[in-house]
Amino acid sequence: MPERADRFIHTFAALADLGQEVADMNSFQQMIRTSLHLLLGSLAIMRGGVARFSRFGGELNFLAMRSMGEDFPLMLSLGRDDVREFVNGGLEAYDLNYPLLNGLPFVRNHKKLFEQKQIELLIPLIVRDELVGLALLGGKASGEKFDAGDKAVICAMARHIGVGIRQRNLMAELERRAQENRQLYEDLKLTYKDTVKAFAAAIDCKDKYTEGHSVRVGRYSEAIALELGWDSDQMEGVAVAGYLHDVGKLTIDRTIINSPTRINAKESAELNKHPQTGYDILMPIHHPFADVPLAAKYHHERIDGRGYPDGLYDRDIPYIAKIVNLADSFDAMTTDRPYKRRRPAEDVIEDLYKNSGKQFAPELVSAFCRSMYKEMTGESKQRQFKRMLGKDYIQNEKVIPMLKDVLNGIAPTSSLTLVSLD
């Protein structure tokens, strides 16, 4: 076979391998190293290096070098004039003595180094009118000068390497923006959470007796969701639903909410509007958690259909509303109200059990009691119940056996009940 054809086949194979290497998206470092080998090996070039251009620092950082010597700098500075001239010239394989190059500060500053290292060609890697890097090449093993055909091959290969570097730059930019977006999203979530908490505080301010009620309902709801094995997003959603479940009370007359005696039928009808009002307030807001308005609307529904506003039965009530209902009822029973003192913990647990399957979904009562049981027995490191109810309110020796009974499906008997039986 004539030598020219052999040479063509060897070079063409290198070009094909290089295209494959860039397209394969292997590790960037590996791609650059392989590409430099292919570039040097295609024409048996004794030495060379490939650098990536960082436009922020105006630096050329060498990613791969072959036979350039240990003392060759890993970074070279490139000025704006250099960059502009390179971009104007496009992707070319320039002889080091090319007149255009000699006018550039970059070449003037480093000419001695390049001559010392026997660099013969300088190839700015230009992709879409952007300088992405630079290749430096030494002489051929044959000692022949680079001819136009050699330079065309070198430019074709350099174009591939340039595309590889640009791809990497785009990926890095994409990653940076994705990271920025993630951070923004986290910030937004925090803002949303803070807003929700501020709203909860505003709701609770209307009623001096129920100060902190919404936050506690949120926390109890979260505890139930944790026991149900919900993921962190779902738990956050149910907590928000708890915080905002009483938002409709903002429109109810303060005298009704703070009435020291039982309210009359008219006032009760007015108060009972708050779930629908809450829904109307929350519905137009784009919540990250879709069920929040439904929790507000249906948190007074009971699974036996005796709740309000719509008297829905079990499966028609949104699950999140059932959770909030249980948390809300528990907090109502365990905090002082204008017209009555809070009930003892044992009494409340009995009530939960008795109303399981009537007001509350049985699996939610179990989940709630399990959460409390784990805290009381130390199985869980959480101290939510003690913190929210006060450390003297729950007496472990009385409450733990009752919770155990509930979890075993046995009707719990409190000491209070026994006292009354005696």
Partner: protein, 111 residues
């Protein structure tokens, strides 16, 4: 005695301690071929003055292989050592001739 190395690519001629034989193998044509180059450099650093690269198990040499061999030649030149290519097939000889690689090495039928 033949000293086996981790790569199983090299041995040392017992009667000539400054002569090392490195088997090129087909690894030469991939990035992993840099191991062969490192092995050669170690031999050169160890005082080897004649580095024999044996191509007995090398079917063909691609551009990566050529680049790695040029790296070996450069390292040998810096160390003042001689590089000998042996057991090359006709295709490899023609390729190295065409590219001018053979100007920098001695050729031998075998090691």
């Amino acid at each position: 005695m033949i000293t086996e190395n981790l790569l199983e690519v090299a041995d040392q001629a017992p009667s000539q301690p400054d002569v090392s034989v490195v088997y090129a193998t087909d690894y030469l044509n991939k990035l992993t071929g840099e191991k062969i180059e490192r092995e050669c450099k170690e031999r050169l650093n160890g005082g080897c003055k004649t580095l024999v690269l044996n191509f007995r198990n090398t079917e063909l040499v691609n551009s990566i292989g050529v680049s790695i061999l040029l790296g070996v030649i450069d390292a040998a030149s810096s160390a003042g050592a001689k590089v000998v290519f042996s057991d090359m097939n006709q295709n490899t000889i023609e390729l190295f001739d065409m590219l001018g690689v053979t100007k920098h090495v001695e050729l031998s039928e075998d090691n």
